[in-house]
Each structure stands twice: as structure tokens, then as C-alpha cells.
Assembly symmetry: C2
Homo-oligomer: 469 residues x 2
């Protein structure tokens, strides 16, 4: 449905963006039809690569007039299907919005286009002595615009917060073609409704982000990284909140079940982390700051906490190479799981003290419905990625039993005062679980907001909201 079969639409898009930036060949459509979400493929009817906000605005007006779906496409690293053109239409690749416009060293801000790769941004900012903390595992290829659209987190969120905590102001092209700045370039703002924060995490359903102003921090100079092996996975989860209760705010606090590490070690060439027999899980813990003495004392306090549990020898990463290897292992888990089996990944999040209950519940639900799971994630935030592994499960059971199990897992997260997604978004794959987190009147308010921005439902249709029957 809504495929672009009308030659006049293609011609109008060429008129707007230039002939060389409009594509309708199968290879290009296929390329832009998938992201990192399982093995889905939903190609757009046409791909456009606009270069300016006014081109985006013109495309929006055209699409709005003809009621054509528009799906903003970033680095295609998303895990909830936000960039999939499930109703065809115009695939709006933002890759030409790739400029870091201004690093403002006086005000500790950066103005950036949405198509800049997050790691590139972080490195450029770092070269001026400043720090953009948000580091999703996909930072080497994801776009900062996608981070804003999904409210991405990452390993450092535990100390520094998520993308939303850094977005000061956004330039946005609305579905009616109007271009607005959502806020101001200020740290404080009590002027009208917070459209900036409404836009963050709205998964491309309310407007197209064309410029981003982010807050920056002064860089720190030192960190300590340690890997703690636990004989019991639930005890690793318990240690997480105990570390905070000891007054420490680590800059990273990651949980990895044994399988996650084993698979990552197999997947990444040259990675050697020997995991002893009987170890069920690890915590990867980092503290950072400017004063080595302070960091040593924090590391000692952390040791005092984890020694209350059954642990094996703690590995301190002594060199930058060792630190990089440990982070590479952590960041490779998602791809390692992907290469290992058909799977489904859920992005559960709960208050951190509830993690042991969540982990236990997930395993019990797996037993009940006959699936295995591998869990890892940002335990300091209570954010656990649950990978449900197909392995040798029958296609039939995979299709009928697993969704029931996922429903129970989400019901458990909500009962624990958590929710469906911590940092991946709802997108396409989680939308039919939204009723677990939200009542009908609550969803009605969200639908009403969607309609204010996008009365013709052209922007990323079929995402976030549950199918209506």
C-alpha cells in the first residue's frame, strides 16, 4: 500500500532534492528497508536524500498533500524497527545532514545535524576538551538524530543520563512543512510546553529533526575499569543497588550473563577473557573523574561491596588496550547473539533494586514457555536487554508461545514499576504490548498529540501505537 507508483511524485521529489538524490532502484530500496531489528525487511517505495531543512519541509508538504507515508532513516542501527518503511512511501535518509555546525566552547554546547555519527561527534567534541557522554553500543555507526528520536542511552547513562538530558533545542520540520525551533539554547527553560522533550523519543512520528543543540560537559581525565565475576547471576544484580547505597555513582555498571560473554569472545577475533567454570554473570564497573586518588578510594569501596557476594578474582584493566578490549567485548554482545541464533530482543527496564526479581522472573517465564534467554545490559539503570533465543525451538512454538512469554515479561516489568523499553524505543516490534504499560485514556492522549502534529498520519505510520482492531 502507498507505494510510490505515480511518476509525478518521483518527479516532484527530484524537483525538490535534485535528481541525483532520489532513488527507486531495487538495490537502494532494499538497502534502506532494514535496520538492526531482527531480520525484518520493509523497503520504502522511494528513497530521498535531502540536503537542507527547506528541502525536508518541501517534501513534507508534498507528502502531506498526497497522504504519503514518510519514514525518517538514520544510521539504521535501531533495534525496534523505527526506520522500517512498513507502509512503503518515502524513505527519508538523513545521511547528507552530516555537519557538526558549531562547537561552542564558551557555552559548552554543540549544534549538529542529525546525520552525524555519534562517535564522530563524541571524538570531535573531545578534541576541544569537552565531553558528550551518551555512548550507545552502536555509536560507531548510529546517527545522533536517531539517538534523539529514540532517546538512546548507553553504558554511561548511569552517571551522565540519556540523550534527553543533553538535548537543549531542536530544529524540526513539521508534517505541514513549517520549520520550528522547539526551545532555546539554554540550560533552564520554563517558557511554554516542553516540545523539545516531547520530540525526544517520539521515534520519527511527530516531525523531522533537522538540527540539534546539545549540552556538553568539561572532560574528565581518569577512569578505572573493573570486571567482577559472580558465581550467582542474581547476586550480581543485587550488588548493583548495593554499590549506589555505598554512596558511589559509577560511570558505567554493566551486567552480562555468562552466555553473553562466551558468545562475544567466540564472535570477536583475538578477544581473550577466560570465564571460570561456575561463573554465572559479570559486572563491568567503571568510575571516572579528575582525581586518581578519589577514583582509587571509590574502587576500594566498590570492592568492599562486591566482596559481600560469592565472586571470583576481580580483573582491573591496567592499560588503555585492556579497557578497549573489555568495552569491545561488551559492545559486541548484540551482534554475537545475532550471529548465533534467530532471536528476539526486549529492552526491559525497572528500578535498579528490582533487577534480581526481574532476572528470576524472566528465567521462570522462559521455563514455562520453553525458551532460553541471554540477558545483559545497563544494570546501573535497571535496563536489562533480554535476548530470547530460538535455538532449536519449532517455528510453530516460536510464533505462538514466545509472544505470550514476552507479554508476561513486560507485565512483570510494569508490576515492578518499570516499563517496556529503556532505550530502544517501541517502534514496530513492541507496539502491540503498549496496552500493558498504558491505559486506554493514556493512549488516547498520546494519539491526540500525534494528531496535533500529524493529522494525516504521514509520519512513520504503524509505529508506537498498537494496531486497532
Amino acid at each position: 500500500m502507498n507505494q510510490i507508483t505515480d511518476g509525478t511524485i518521483i518527479a516532484a521529489l527530484q524537483q525538490i532534492a535534485g535528481q541525483s538524490f532520489v532513488f527507486s532502484d531495487v538495490d537502494t530500496l532494499t538497502h534502506y528497508g532494514h535496520d538492526e531489528t531482527e531480520d525484518y525487511s520493509f523497503p520504502p517505495g522511494v528513497v530521498v536524500k535531502p540536503g537542507t531543512a527547506s528541502e525536508v519541509s518541501a517534501i513534507m508538504r508534498l507528502a502531506n498533500e498526497h497522504h504519503l507515508p514518510v519514514v525518517p532513516i538514520g544510521g539504521r542501527t535501531g533495534l525496534s524497527g523505527g526506520a522500517l518503511s512498513i507502509h512503503g512511501g518515502i524513505g527519508l535518509s538523513m545521511e547528507r545532514f552530516n555537519k557538526i555546525i558549531h562547537i561552542d566552547e564558551q557555552n559548552l554546547q554543540v549544534t549538529v545535524e542529525p546525520g552525524v555519527i555519534t562517535q564522530t561527534l563524541r571524538e570531535r567534541v573531545a578534541s576541544t576538551g569537552l565531553f558528550y557522554p551518551v555512548d550507545p553500543s552502536s555509536q560507531g555507526s548510529c546517527f545522533i538524530g536517531g539517538n534523539v528520536a529514540e532517546n538512546s542511552g548507553g553504558a554511561r547513562a548511569v552517571k551522565y543520563g540519556v540523550t534527553k538530558d543533553y538535548v537543549l533545542n531542536l530544529e524540526v520540520a513539521l508534517p505541514n512543512g513549517e520549520i520550528i525551533w522547539t526551545g532555546a539554547n539554554t540550560l533552564k527553560n520554563a517558557t511554554g510546553y516542553n516540545l523539545t522533550q516531547l520530540m525526544v523519543g517520539s521515534e520519527g512520528t511527530l516531525g523531522i529533526i533537522t538540527k540539534i543543540v546539545l549540552k556538553l560537559l568539561p572532560a574528565h581525565t581518569h577512569n578505572i575499569l573493573m570486571l567482577v565475576p559472580f558465581y550467582k547471576a542474581e547476586e550480581a544484580c543485587e550488588a548493583v543497588s548495593a554499590i549506589f547505597r555505598a554512596g558511589i555513582v559509577p560511570s558505567a555498571l554493566e551486567f552480562m550473563e555468562r552466555d553473553a560473554i562466551d558468545w562475544a569472545v567466540q564472535y570477536v577475533d583475538g578477544l581473550s577473557v577466560a570465564v571460570k567454570h561456575g561463573i554465572e554473570a559479570h559486572l563491568l564497573i567503571e568510575v571516572d573523574g579528575n582525581h586518581p586518588d578519589v577514583l582509587f578510594s571509590e574502587a576500594e569501596k566498590i570492592m568492599a561491596v562486591v566482596e559481600n557476594f560469592e565472586i571470583d578474582e576481580v580483573l582491573f584493566a591496567d592499560t588503555e588496550d585492556q579497557k578497549n578490549a573489555l568495552w569491545k567485548m561488551r559492545r559486541s554482545i548484540a551482534e554475537a547473539v545475532k550471529s548465533n541464533s534467530v532471536y528476539k530482543e526486549e529492552d526491559t527496564v525497572v528500578p535498579r533494586y528490582e533487577l534480581p526479581k526481574l532476572l528470576r522472573g524472566i528465567k521462570e517465564i522462559g521455563t514455562k514457555y520453553g525458551f532460553r534467554s541471554v540477558c545483559y545490559g545497563h544494570a546501573g539503570d535497571g535496563n536489562l536487554h533480554v535476548n530470547i533465543i530460538k535455538g532449536d525451538m519449532s517455528d510453530e512454538r516460536w510464533k505462538t508461545e514466545v509472544p505470550k512469554g514476552i507479554r508476561e515479561i513486560f507485565s512483570l516489568t510494569v508490576a515492578l514499576k518499570g516499563t517496556l523499553s529503556g532505550e530502544h524505543g517501541i517502534g514496530y516490534v513492541q507496539k502491540n504490548y503498549m496496552d500493558i504499560a498504558f491505559s486506554a485514556p493514556h493512549l488516547a492522549v498520546m494519539r491526540g498529540i500525534k494528531k496535533v502534529f500529524d493529522p494525516n498520519n504521514i509520519l512513520n505510520p504503524g509505529k508506537i501505537f498498537p494496531d486497532q482492531h
Copy 2:
């Protein structure tokens, strides 16, 4: 208009909240008809003091059916007239929502009702070794619910952020009587639109907040407080961003023009801060943390920065008493100004490096329109409170010239990439300046959102949005 003259409404309210919590005597109506905004008085037609969310819900349904205005009333310390019943109707005092429901030491969260006084909350939280950083100057009498409604800031926002940065989840009664939780009790959330952040700063126009879940931090143990006198006010402003560029994030960085201090010293009994001849402004600077050595080195770095400017001798507060006296002086400025003259206060905010330009511009605009101003505020955030002093200006010129001057001041803040209000809100007194910060399509989106929540415009009507002619 919309006064409550109908006995059946009063009876229905008594039925809902109980006879002893519905008031229509003149004294009570007058009492709830003003906040701290200049000398405005807009009494409601009836005052109700509900005790539970379901009572609030029933009141909303009643008001929605009869199209009666409902104005949520907190500690009545607001500075933009958010709690004024400018169209009469029901004044909904939230003072009975005064319970701290649960300090969750495991998850570093507190669940609190909106009528708890901010300082009470901060002290109770502190008694468990935790820290709620947001400290508006009115913390001794303002309600935490009002802080959420206005997205209040305060002196520690420069390091710790404003109210919005601590709100995880809100229980809200909507105008149609539905009660929802806006989010989850989690640090990360990428599940649907961020209604929590939409509610924060919405000034009682979208729903009535009945419960609040706030993030807490581990408490720190030490701080250093210093008062730096500058011979030139603009140099004090310049020093602000220079301190950040030196890699320091102070926990407070306050700017006070000479008059502000002089008036505060006169106003507060027993306060002695001798300000030397020729001093134009001061910075009050605090650093905090757990390691005295680190704080001393940060204080030294700050000294190295401020010594680049023309300053007089720096006062280090040696005792808790001295620290409290300096903070008392700072927090008394607003009341001191109020006692001194008829005035108007604007809550300008810009990126902090633009502060010297803003201050210079304000003085030039004052000269042009014939008014004097006293400026002070949270300079570390670029948030400058501009008090326009009537003094011996004629009533005629006060009425005709000052609004022109305010318009120019706001145009300047927006030109400097700032906005109208940093932490006081728009409310009643700034609403007709909104066109300076927002285009017509932008305001149309905000009005559309208002309509989704409140189709009959019963909640705090006549606030935020400019009058339509």
C-alpha cells in the same frame, strides 16, 4: 465571569470533598487570590481542598461538565501568576496532599504528594543520607507540586539541573477525570511520548498532579562558599563562563548587582556584608563534593580565573553560620526588592557566555525607556532576574513605557538564543510576550496539545497563551 453563584455547584463540591473543605467566605477567597506575583489579586469563586486523587478526579468531572475554570493552588509563592484565578471558578488548593509517601533508599527515589513544602522534602530526604538538589529561593514555603508545574530551578541547578531533571513519574488527574501515571519509576524510558516532561512546566494547564516520583542522589559531605566582589558588573558576568572553561562545574554560581545586596542587607535584620565603594556586583560561588582536597583545588582554580578581573578581596565563608548568612542574603533579595518599590520582575535566560551582552542591553533599554533595574540571579545557568523598579516613575509612564522596554529585553534574550523564562514560568504576566519566542505555527501546536488534554479549557484558563484579539 464564571463565578460560582450556583448553589448546586457548592453542594456538589461539598459532596465530593466534605463540607469542611469547601470555602466561599471572602477572607478565604481573598487569601487564595494572590501569590507572590507583584500585587495582583484574583480570588477564585470557591476554594476546595481535596484530600485524595479520586476527589480531584470527581471535581474535574464536575468542572468539565459545567465548563468551570479550575486553578490548582500550591504554596502561592509563584512569580508569574500561575495560581491566580483570573477567571474565577474553583480554586483547588492542594495543601492537604502533604505526605511524603515513601523514601525508597534502595532505588534512590522518593514518592511524594504535591503539597509537601520543598524544604521539608529536602530535609527528610537528607536525614536518610540522600540528596534532592533542587532548591528554589522560596523553598521554605513553596510546594513541590508547584515546582513541578513551573519547572523550578534555584541556585544548585548549575551543577544538578532543574526540577524536570528529577521527575521520573507523575500521577495526574486529567480534565476528563481520568487518572494516569505519566511514565515509569525508571531512570531510562523510551516507551511512547514523554508525557512526564510535557506535564513538567505546563503550569497547571494540562492536568492536576496528585503524586510525584523524584530521583534522588547520594548526599555529598563538603562544600566551599566564596563571595567575590567585582568592580565592574559586566566582568562578573564574563567570569561566569570563564570558570566553566577552566573545567570547574560549581554547585552554585550566583550574580548580584550592588543594589540587590545593599537592599537585602537593609531588609534582613542582623545581616552584615560590607560592600566597598565602587563595587558593582558580586558572584557567590560554591563547590561541593566528598573530598575536601579536591574542593580546595577547585577553589584555587576559581581564584585563578576571577583574579584576571578587577576584583576586591574574596570572602571565604568559614563556618556554617557564615554560609547560612550569605545564602540568607541571596534568598532575601526578591523580598527586599518587593519591600522597596513597586516593581516588575522578568526571568530572562540566555546561554551563559551571553550574560555580559544581556546585562549591557538591559541597562541601555532602561536608559531608553527611563527605568532603573536591579539584576541578580543564577548566572551559572545564564538565568538573570531583572527587577524593573518603579521608584518615582509616573503611573502613566510605568503603564506605557515599561511594557515596551520589557518587549525589547525579551527580544534581546531571544536574539541571544535565550528565552522568556528560565524558572518562573509564563503564567499570567508574561503571556503576551510569547509571540517573541514562538512563531504562530509553534503556538498552534502548543494550543493543539492543550486542547487534547483540556478540550473545554477549564484548567487554569488565561495562562501561558497570548490573548487572542
